[in-house]
Amino acid sequence: MKFHDLSIQEMRQKLLAGETTSVELTQQCLQRIEATDDRLNAFITVCEEEALAAAAVADQQLASGNTPLLTGIPLAVKDIFNTLDVRTTCASKILDNYISPYDATAVAKLREQGAVIVGKLNMDEFAMGSSSENSAAGAVHNPWDLERVPGGSSGGSAAAVAAGQVVATLGTDTGGSVRQPASHCGVVGLKPTYGRVSRYGVIAYASSLDQVGPVAGNVADCALLLGAVAGYDPADSTSVDCPVPDYLETLDGGVVGKKIGLPKEYFIDGLDPDIKKAVDAAIETYRQLGAEIVSVSLPHTDYSVACYYLIAMAEASSNLARYDGVRFGNREDDGDGLIGMYQQTRSAGFGDEVKRRIMLGTYALSSGYYEAYYIKAQKVRTLIRQDFLNVFEQVDFLLTPIAPTPAFKIGEKVNDPLQMYLSDIFTIPTNLAGTCAMSLPCGFSGDDLPIGLQLIGKPFAEAEILQAAYAFEQATDWHQRVPEL
């Protein structure tokens, strides 16, 4: 049995049938990581001991019957999630040896469902980046082409699934950080509606945009994982108290009669021809599946990137103030007094991109600039959200590309932050609008690089886009291709 050919549901069946054990699955998972991660660098921390202990407990539970859905399934989470007793670095030197005294709500929910956490995944430092190159633990490599980036910031979460290191993972998506790497790595990733999954215990980058999202090898696993972590959390004031549907139950509803909108602002001239071809083919597939395709407009799309970076950096500048060397994390102190300690700690602890965003965000919030930048960006955000709400009165969901190009080369955009920021142009607007969206494989480029398709749904309509994604997945075989490693 090859572990990495199995889905969560297949693992579940084998566990229930006694054909395998959680310890065996976990061991295979750890072996696969051992065999591949020197090339991928998808993991920051592998917690072998803890994982095997949890697997042994899961096996006991399985033997006694009536277990939750994820019992004994090895999973991994982005290193932005606080995990009790296993270090949480957020890919930053400043949290190099930080051990959290508590589990993030999403992690606690996975554990309650019986999941075995095998490790913490690499990412851009503090989730700031689109390539997973900005990591104190070094760049993550794309399993389809080791010279290329896996996307970011949840690059480790996507690469690990694509490489079969682990069956599914959790990432976070602030401006596309789950969907864009899922697209670049040929896996399925979903950014839920803001408030759908608790942010408690997720290290904050931009609080009004951050959202926890699952990454998996297929739509059903993605749905299953979303169901496991979704729901209201009294510890997160911004989580929303609305019922969580059974995402698996409605999965095969099809798309007959559904109205799919193609926002014309997303089908721009500069779009990579391979991507255009793949997305056009996907549109045709949906037409054949019985959906109605219409053209729509999201007129304020052009302002999204500027709006996003102002809001995200402003919030980040404040969110990252707590890394001051006083209570936790690394401290650098030449004995130069309090201000000196702050300066040395933060200069040494943060990477360039993080510093850049803190400085830009601080500037945007400063007296005299606040109105012109932050307040203006908030107004634009309202318009962008309104664009989506208007369009959703005409169509059931939207279909767009995920990224303007397939995965780029490592180092290609490092010295051009603006070019890097523009790579999130198709994913950012949904974070600003707070609605849900997902990425699923829809083809390959001439260089054999995966291409992703984006479905954007109404607020809290995750079940609907999962259903549409599942219909597409059933009609195509893109998700069955795996990289040679």
């Binding site: 004031s237 911004t238 404040s318 707590r322 209570r327």
Partner: protein, 478 residues
């Protein structure tokens, strides 16, 4: 009052609320616990932790707003105030900035110099407190975050005060209100009620405000008065010497009686306030406001007036009794059992407060309950005992917890109102003091007190003083 300059004062008061738990987490707010023992990921500002608003804080803020004649905002917003300091775990304080919960209030104060005056309250907002730095002997510092994230109301006045006396009158009234409301313990020493004062001066008649100094570390009413007066003198001296007042924050040193510059305007922080994305706007319905309004206790100023108008107390007596809500409530209970407010007030202010002070006790622990005290007063008014005997009875009740009637009965303290018995004593007193009788009859009527005293003494205090008086008058007139 200075003849050349007008003094302008505005006050910012931090009121620490008495909620059981902190404003954004479930940790206890109890004072004096072991360092950092009352903390959690939220109030430690650990990565990933998020604040959740304690609704009781909002309710307390509404109470304070209603009691100070503020408008309560149907929607208010929490904002982050960003600055670095080791006692501030997140690197920002969650406060309110653009949309505070209460605005446009006022208090009426009275001072000897300026009489009655209305002082504006700009706003009241909710915020979290910071932790405490402890400076160690080896030149290092430690931080105790037990206080971090405890709830505060910041009450900001208009610059309406014109003297230190007005400032103190305002503060005392505000202090009395928050303690009455039961939202603050009012303890100045422990920092439950802290004040910063903005002080400036300007030539009389000038509209424009002078440059202000902000005075900090004022933790008693006396220090506040001292600090303001010192600051006014300092500013007058500067201007008289041809220098300028600079905008700065000054720290008052109560031991030396002077203030020192802490930081100037150029070092002032740019706090980069922006709405906290981790918290939802605070929506307060009119139903909620009305519900809180219904539950408000009668406020001290209203009580003060009612005690004078309806109960006939003097302004002074009403002031003493309303100074603390617990005393006023005790007094009102006594009146409920015995409707003679004047007598009740005298006894509460005299015997009760005196005995409490002597025994270092709070009125809530007073062994003589309002009902027991009323029992004594009833027996005074129905002339069973004299006021003097009543004091003995009170002391006995304090010790034993018995009722007045039990004490009177057991000790045979019942007043003698039998005219025959009193007449016999009166006759004896007159017979024993011929000299004084002659003087009295010669016109020295003041001696009546002496005769009454003798009769009371002879009767061991039990003679009805009124009857003794009458009989003495009658007999001495002969």
């Amino acid at each position: 009052m200075n003849s050349r300059y007008e003094v302008v004062i505005g006050l910012e008061v931090h009121v620490q609320l008495t909620t059981k738990t902190k404003i954004f987490c479930g940790c206890s707010t109890e004072f004096g616990q072991g360092a950092n023992s009352q903390t959690c990921p939220v109030c430690l500002g650990l990565p990933g932790a998020l604040p959740v608003l304690n609704r009781q804080v909002v309710e307390d803020a509404i109470k304070a707003g209603l009691a100070t004649n503020c408008q309560i905002a149907p929607r208010s917003i929490f904002a982050r105030k960003n600055y670095f300091y080791p006692d501030l775990p997140k690197g920002y304080q969650i406060s309110q900035f653009e949309l505070p919960i209460c605005e446009h209030g006022w208090l009426d104060i009275e001072t000897e110099e300026s009489g009655e005056k209305r002082l504006g309250i700009t706003r009241i907002h909710m915020e979290e407190d910071a932790g405490k730095l402890l400076h160690n002997s080896d030149n290092s510092s430690s931080v105790d975050l037990n206080r971090a994230c405890t709830p505060l109301l910041e009450v900001v006045s208009e610059p309406d005060m014109r003297s230190s006396d007005e400032a103190i009158a305002y503060l005392k009234q505000l202090h009395q209100i928050v303690v009455y409301l039961g939202i603050c313990d009012g303890n100045l020493d422990e920092g439950s009620f802290r004040c910063d004062a903005n002080v400036s001066i300007r030539p009389w008649g000038q509209q424009e405000l002078g440059t202000r100094a902000e005075l900090k570390n004022l933790n008693s009413f006396r220090f506040i008065k001292q600090a303001i007066e010192y600051e006014v003198e300092r500013q007058i001296d500067l201007i008289d010497a041809g220098e300028k007042v600079v905008q700065e924050t000054r720290l008052f040193d109560p031991d030396a009686g002077v203030s020192r510059s802490m930081r100037g305007k150029e070092e002032a922080h740019d706090y980069r306030y922006f709405p906290d994305p981790d918290l939802l706007p605070v929506d307060v319905s009119t139903e909620w406001i009305e519900q809180v309004r219904q539950g408000l206790p009668e406020l001290p100023t209203v009580k003060l007036q009612r005690y004078q108008d309806e109960m006939g107390l003097t302004a002074y007596d009403a002031g003493v009794i309303t100074s603390e809500r617990s005393v006023a409530e005790y007094f009102e209970s006594v009146v409920k059992f015995h409707d003679n407010p004047k007598l009740c007030a005298n006894w509460v202010m005299g015997e009760v407060l005196g005995a409490l002070k002597e025994n270092k006790m709070e009125i809530s622990d007073c062994p003589v309950t309002p009902e027991l005290l009323a029992g004594v007063l009833i027996r005074i008014d129905d002339k069973t005992i004299s006021g003097k005997i009543a004091k003995t009875v009170f002391e006995e009740i304090w010790q034993s917890g018995k009722t007045a009637d039990q004490v009177i009965e057991a000790n045979g303290l019942k007043q003698v109102s039998d005219s025959g018995a009193i007449e016999a004593i009166v006759d004896a007193v007159i017979a024993e003091n011929p000299g004084q009788v002659a003087e009295y009859r010669g016109g020295k009527e003041k001696l009546m007190g002496f005769f009454v005293g003798q009769v009371m003494k002879a009767s061991k205090g039990k003679a009805n003083p009124g009857m003794a008086n009458q009989l003495l008058k009658k007999k001495l007139a002969k």
